[in-house]
């Protein structure tokens, strides 16, 4: 397993290096892996476009955190309620289905028009990426919850509010956490698009500046940073998911 993974990675790096060293592609447009690594290390401590790479990442993460938390805070309760109240499901689903296939980046023009270069724009775009899975998974979790839990709550004389909070929510929890994980990934993927319209700092901004300076190693350093942080977010949420499953005795 590990050996195959390492071989795949080495093969990929070899192909990349061969392609850029052979001169088939202009060096300016495809830097070698070593150049990218050197540039990444350089950017860790030296500022480019007004900040070092970690500083850009921190600003990006801040926007991302707001966007994702907003998506979770709206998507999860709305999904749960849609799973519980049929009329809400019938009301929201057509609107939601009409909007959910619009890629986050398609909102960039409106985000720019409505929010200018402020933090609102990126939050809106990240929100549009993270929101659908948050809602859909909470909805599915609530809609397909084991009916006997609901019936048990009902025969114990439980009202709507308590049933939603103490039965529907915990019963849907594994599905909700899975949705948060997917949403977190999609939100992070929307980041670069979100930061196309940012004028101060952020990994997306760094990459745009790198492009206009024809510094492709800088662009790639940004890509690597995005990939790595995305991986870290996913690993962290996987841990949360595994913890939830263990506590339930499911694992």
């Amino acid at each position: 397993m590990f050996l195959l993974g390492a071989a795949g990675l080495l093969g990929f790096l070899g192909l990349w290096w061969g392609l850029s060293a052979s001169g088939l592609v202009a060096k300016q447009f495809l830097p070698t892996p070593l150049e990218v690594l050197a540039r990444t290390l350089y950017l860790l401590t030296e500022p480019f476009a007004g900040a070092t790479l970690p500083e850009h990442l921190a600003r990006s993460f801040e926007r991302y955190a707001y966007g994702f938390m907003l998506a979770a805070a709206v998507g999860v309760p709305l999904g749960l309620l849609m799973g519980w109240f049929r009329w809400l499901d019938d009301m929201v689903t057509p609107v939601f289905d009409g909007l959910r296939f619009i890629a986050p980046i398609a909102w960039v023009p409106f985000a720019a028009l409505w929010f200018g270069t402020g933090i609102g724009g990126p939050i809106m775009i990240i929100f549009s990426g993270a929101f659908p899975p948050c809602l859909i998974n909470a909805y599915r979790g609530a809609r397909f919850v084991d009916r006997t839990y609901i019936e048990a709550a009902q025969m114990l004389g439980t009202g709507n509010l308590r049933t939603i909070l103490q039965v529907l929510l915990p019963a849907s929890f594994p599905s909700i956490v899975a949705g948060l994980r997917i949403g977190a990934g999609l939100g992070w993927q929307s980041l670069v698009g979100a930061e196309l319209i940012v004028a101060s700092a952020g990994v997306g901004y760094l990459m745009v500046q790198g492009q206009s300076n024809i510094s492709t190693p800088t662009v790639m350093a940004g890509m690597i940073a995005i990939g790595l942080v995305g991986l870290l977010i996913d690993v962290a949420l996987r841990q949360v998911e595994a913890f939830v499953r263990r506590r339930r005795g499911l694992a």
Binding site: Q154, M155, L156, G157, T158, Q166, A171
Partner: protein, 265 residues
């Protein structure tokens, strides 16, 4: 007073635009504090009867009354014990049992007293903070029975409560149920396909026909139990050895077998 009355109850199901009868002309009264077991071939609609008394389903015709009032929906006056326990896996034993009491707005101190009492009665001491998945099937069903009993409901509805348990555990639970029912009698409707269990536990056993289910016959076990003094035996196997027990059991078996033979034609 809280008798369960099925008054000429019918229930139809819709499938692929067609309507199928599941129950027809079911009339049965479970008197106050009486224990009635409902046996029948699988798919005869006995669980549907229980679900209508619980308020999870509505009859298509006829009426289901509990305490003289038509059943409109589920409520804590009719506690249900499910075959698959239906405990809340995210709550520990104490919180599962206390769940219904919290709905009643009972004071915390009284709630704790009630829960502690039922935990003792059901032999659950030492498991108060355990989660359902940490317990055996038998222990989980004890918790489910405790969760129902703690509400002191007028009516207990038990849907094959021991059906998911192994044979040994099942016997222990049957003895436990008899013990608890003597301390604290309730109006009980008990669904089972195990004939011996029905004869051992019930005051009366109602036998149903195959689908569409009707009440085929009702046997008075209680009069036999009292006449033959089954109570002098505390163990299931001793009661099941008695001639009067065997006689009743065999009668019901034959009655059910006729149904199955018919079904094959």
């Amino acid at each position: 007073m809280s008798a369960i009355v099925f008054d000429n109850v019918g229930r139809r199901f819709e499938r692929n635009g067609q309507s199928f009868p599941a129950l027809e002309e079911v009339s049965l009264t479970v008197a106050d504090k009486e224990f009635v077991a409902l046996v029948g071939p699988s798919g005869c609609g006995k669980t549907t009867c229980l679900r209508m008394a619980a308020g999870f389903e509505m009859p298509s015709s006829g009426r289901v009354l509990v305490g003289g009032v038509p059943v409109h929906g589920p409520g804590p006056d009719r506690a249900v014990v499910f075959q698959q326990f239906a405990l809340f896996p995210w709550k520990n034993v104490t919180d599962n049992i206390a769940f219904g009491l919290r709905n009643k707005g009972m004071l915390a101190a009284e709630r704790q007293d009630r829960v502690a009492g039922i935990i003792k009665l059901m032999g659950l001491e030492g498991y108060e903070t355990a989660f359902p998945h940490q317990l055996s099937g038998g222990m989980q069903q004890r918790v489910a029975i405790a969760r129902a009993y703690v509400l002191e409901p007028e009516v207990l509805l038990m849907d094959e409560p021991f059906g998911a348990l192994d044979a040994q555990t099942r016997i222990v639970m049957q003895e436990e149920l008899v013990r608890i029912a003597r301390i604290n009698p309730r109006t009980v409707l008990f669904i089972t396909h195990a004939v011996e269990e029905a004869v051992y536990l019930a005051d009366r056993v109602a036998v149903m026909t195959r689908r569409p289910g009707r009440i085929k016959e009702i046997l008075d076990v209680r009069s036999v139990r009292e006449a033959e003094d089954w109570h002098r035996h505390t163990r299931v196997e001793d009661v099941m050895d008695l001639e009067s027990f065997v006689h009743l059991r065999t009668h019901i078996w034959r009655s059910l077998r006729e149904e199955k033979v018919d079904a094959e034609h």
